[in-house]
């Protein structure tokens, strides 16, 4: 099993602050995905990163895939209360059939 380690596990910040969530592994992945989950909902895919060093932006969210494709980060600029939720990184194991999730980062943005 390829373990995905996310940090921090919990994050509580004020509206307008910036933050970064990390997802690390000792394994190399062909791609890595970030999901966000709000209470009472299923996880919703935010982005898939495929190429080492790739940077993708989704409004105030910036996703980066490490050069060696072993790690990824999610940076949120000027966080808003609507960004509150559980952020999960996920990657397929080598066989490609099993999607493994990180432990998740519970983000709370206070008004």
């Amino acid at each position: 099993t390829q373990l995905l380690e996310q940090s921090p596990q919990f994050l509580s910040i004020q509206e307008g602050e910036n933050l970064t969530v990390y997802c690390n592994s000792s394994s190399v992945f062909s791609s890595l995905q970030w999901y966000r989950q709000e209470p009472g909902e299923g996880p919703v895919l935010l982005v898939t990163v495929v190429t080492g060093g790739e940077v993708k932006k989704l409004k105030r969210l910036t996703f980066q895939f490490g050069d060696a494709r072993k790690d990824s980060s999610l940076h949120i600029t000027a966080a808003q209360p609507g960004d509150t939720g559980l952020y999960l990184c996920a990657a397929f194991e080598t066989s490609g059939s099993r999607l493994t999730f990180g432990e998740g980062t519970q983000l709370t943005v206070n008004p």
Partner: protein, 114 residues
């Protein structure tokens, strides 16, 4: 992306009983998955539901406890058998077009066993 509907969305169950969760996808999909999630925590794969054959279970999950059906390419069920309070969790159905493809999730079924 596929739209996935799960029923029930929430239920309170007596210990010792069994509950079947239904998952309906709005299009034919190759793969369907069942995950379990404790509130605020990550997702753990229970099994991959295979159309026309038995489900493939992950370590720690067995067919007697979590029987799964996949009668066609748009539908699957997960039964949680002989429930105990430890089975209280969110059960999520996911689907994808194939191995290594993006998995889309339903809204989950929140079970509380009392």
């Amino acid at each position: 992306s596929a739209v996935i509907s799960q029923k029930p969305s929430r239920d309170i169950c007596q210990r010792g009983t069994s509950l079947t969760i239904q998952c309906q996808v709005d299009s034919q999909v190759t793969m369907m998955f069942w995950y379990r999630q404790q509130p605020g925590q990550s997702l753990t794969l229970i099994a991959t539901a295979n159309q026309g054959s038995e489900a493939t279970y992950e370590s720690g999950f067995v067919i007697d406890k979590f029987p799964i059906s996949r009668p066609n390419l748009t539908f699957s069920t997960l039964t949680v058998s002989n429930m105990s309070p430890e089975d209280s969790s969110i059960y999520l159905c996911g689907s994808s077009e194939g191995s290594g493809n993006t998995i889309y999730f339903g809204e989950g079924s929140w079970l509380t066993v009392v």
